[in-house]
Amino acid sequence: MADINSGFPQNKTVYQRWNIHHRLVHFGIYAPFIVCAITGLPIKFHHKAWAQALASFFGGGDGLLFWHLFAGVVIFLTCIYHLGYSLLWAVKYRHNLTIPMLPWSKGTWTALKQYFAYQLGKSDEHPKFGRYQWKEMFDYWAVFWGMFMIGGSGLLMWFPEFTFQYFPKWFVDAYRWAHSDEAVLAVVFIFTWHFYNVHFQPEFFPMSWVWWDGKMTVDTMELEHGLELEMLTEQQQVMPGRGTISPDKKFPSSG
C-alpha cells in the first residue's frame, strides 16, 4: 500500500546541504557584491545620467567610494572566514579527506560529458552530479579568480602610498582596467548564469532555498546531485562533515 504521506511535499526526505557556515559565507559574498556592483558601475560609466543619479544618492563620488570600499572589506572578511573554516575542516577530517569542490574530484568529468550529451539530445540519461556540479565549481573558482583580479587591484588602488613604492603607474592603470572589466563580467555572469541556475530555471523558480535554510529535497537532489545522493543512500558514504540526512517529516494528521 502506498504511503499516505508520500503525496505531501513537506513529507519528502530533506537533506541538509549547507550548514550555517556555508550560508553565512554565501550571504557575506552576495550582499556586499550587490553593493559593490551598485556603487562600482557608476564609477566605470561616470558620464551616464544614471551614474550621476546613483552617485548623488550615495553622497557624491566620495560617498560612493566609501560604500564601495566598505562592501569590498566585507567580501575580504568573508573570504578570510571561508578560508579559515575550510582549513579547519580539512584538518579535522585529514585522515579521510576528499575535497569535492576540486575540478578533478571523482565523477566531475563523467558528469560533464553526460551533461552535454543529455542537453544536446544525444542521450536520455540524466547527468549524475556529485556534491558540486561543474556549474557550481565554475561559480566558486570564479570568485577565487575574481578576488585576485578585483580584490588585489582594489587594495593596490586603495593604498597608493604603498603601491607606488613597488609598482609603476602603467601597471596600476592596467590593473584598474582589469578591476572594472572583470567586475562587469562578474555582474553579467551572476545575473544571467547564476540567476538562471538558482532562480529562473523551472525546477527552482522563484528560487532554490539552499542559501536560506541549507535544505534540499530528495527530488531536487536526484536531479542536481544524483551521484551524491547515491553515495548517501545506497552506499552509505557520507562525506566527512557533509550531507547529514534529516529525519523524515510526517504530515501531522497522518498519525
Binding site: G60, G61, E161, K169, T192
Partner: protein
C-alpha cells in the same frame, strides 16, 4: 594756559569726531553711491541686453549680445555697473564699442584694475604669457572664470567649482580632458566628489606652468611633493610614467588598452558560452515536456 588747554582738547575731540564720521560712513556712502549708480546704469543696459535673442552681425558672424540678467545679478560682479568693466561704452549708440578678440582683450585688461594681487602670478604663468602666433595671452581671465556668470568656487555652477574645473579646462584642453576622464581622480571629481584632485589641485591655477618648467607643480622634481598634498608622503614613483594616457595600442596606455581588449573578449566568450548552455537546457526541457507520455 587753562583756556588754551581746553581749546586743544576741544579741537582734538572735534577732529576725532570728524574722523570717526568719515571712516564709519564715508565708504558706506561711497558704496551706496556705486550701488545706486549700478542700479541706474544696469537698468539702462539691460533694457536691451536682457532680451533673449539680441544679436548683431559682425563681419558676417552672428554674435549674441544677450546677458542673462538673473545670473548676472547673483554673480560676484552683479552689483557693479556694466561700465565698470565695459569702460569704453559711454554713449548710445555705442561709438566706442569693440568687437571680437579686441573686446575680450579690453575687458580682461580691466580685471587687473581691482585684482592686482593675481597679476604677477598670472603674468608668469603659461596662461599669462603672450602667444606670439595669436598676439594675445594664452588664456584670459574670462576663459576660466566666465563672463557675466562669475561665481565663487563654492557655488556649484561656478566655472571654477571643484567639480566643474575639468570641464572648464577641457574647453581648450580637449584631449587632456579625455585622458583625465580615464583616471580615477576624474571619476571621483566628475561624480561630485570633493576629496579627489581636479586639474587645478595638481597644476595650480593662476601660477600654472608647463611640466618642463622647473617651478611647475608638475615638473619631475615637484610632482612627488604635489601628490603628497593628499597622499601622505612624497614618492619618487609618483613622478614616473605619464599621468595622462590615451587608450591606444601603442604608447603610454598600451598595456591598459590590451587589458581592455582581452577582458572584453573574455566577457563576450564567457557570456556567450553560458547563454548557449541556458538555451540548450531550456530546449531539452521543452523537448521532454512535449514527449508523448511525459504527463
Amino acid at each position: 594756559m587753562g583756556t588754551n588747554k581746553s581749546c586743544t582738547a576741544k579741537t582734538l575731540v572735534i577732529a576725532a569726531l570728524v574722523a570717526v564720521i568719515c571712516l564709519a560712513f564715508g565708504p558706506a556712502a561711497f558704496a551706496e553711491d556705486l550701488l545706486q549708480k549700478a542700479v541706474i546704469i544696469n537698468e539702462g543696459c539691460l533694457r536691451c541686453h536682457a532680451a533673449q535673442g539680441l544679436n548683431a552681425n559682425f563681419d558676417g558672424k552672428t554674435v549674441s549680445l544677450y546677458v542673462d540678467k538673473a545670473k548676472y545679478e547673483v554673480s560676484m560682479h552683479g552689483t557693479m555697473p556694466c561700465t565698470y568693466c565695459h569702460t569704453n561704452i559711454t554713449d548710445y549708440p555705442h561709438t566706442g564699442a569693440l568687437k571680437g578678440k579686441a573686446l575680450v582683450a579690453q575687458v580682461n585688461g580691466e580685471c587687473q584694475r581691482c585684482h592686482k594681487d593675481v597679476v604677477p602670478d598670472y603674468n608668469k604663468s603659461v596662461h599669462g604669457q603672450v602667444n606670439s602666433a595669436e598676439g594675445r595671452q594664452n588664456a584670459f581671465c574670462s576663459d576660466c572664470h566666465g563672463i557675466h556668470n562669475i561665481y565663487k568656487k563654492e557655488v556649484p555652477e561656478a566655472a571654477i567649482n571643484h567639480n566643474q574645473v575639468p570641464h572648464t579646462c577641457g574647453n581648450c584642453h580637449e584631449e587632456l580632458l579625455e585622458q583625465y576622464e580615464l583616471d580615477f581622480h576624474a571619476k571621483a571629481v566628475l561624480l561630485g566628489g570633493q576629496e579627489a584632485a581636479s586639474c587645478v589641485s595638481c597644476h595650480g591655477s593662476h601660477n600654472i606652468l608647463g611640466p618642463e618648467e622647473k617651478e611647475s607643480m608638475v615638473s619631475t622634481e615637484n610632482t612627488p611633493k604635489t601628490c603628497a598634498k593628499c597622499h601622505l608622503f612624497p614618492l619618487e614613483n609618483f613622478a614616473k610614467g605619464k599621468m595622462h594616457y590615451s587608450l591606444t595600442p601603442t604608447g603610454d596606455g598600451a598595456v591598459s588598452f590590451w587589458v581592455l581588449i582581452v577582458f572584453s573578449w573574455l566577457v563576450i566568450a564567457c557570456i556567450s558560452f553560458v547563454l548557449i548552455c541556458i538555451l540548450l537546457e531550456l530546449r531539452r526541457k521543452w523537448a521532454d515536456v512535449n514527449k508523448p507520455g511525459s504527463h
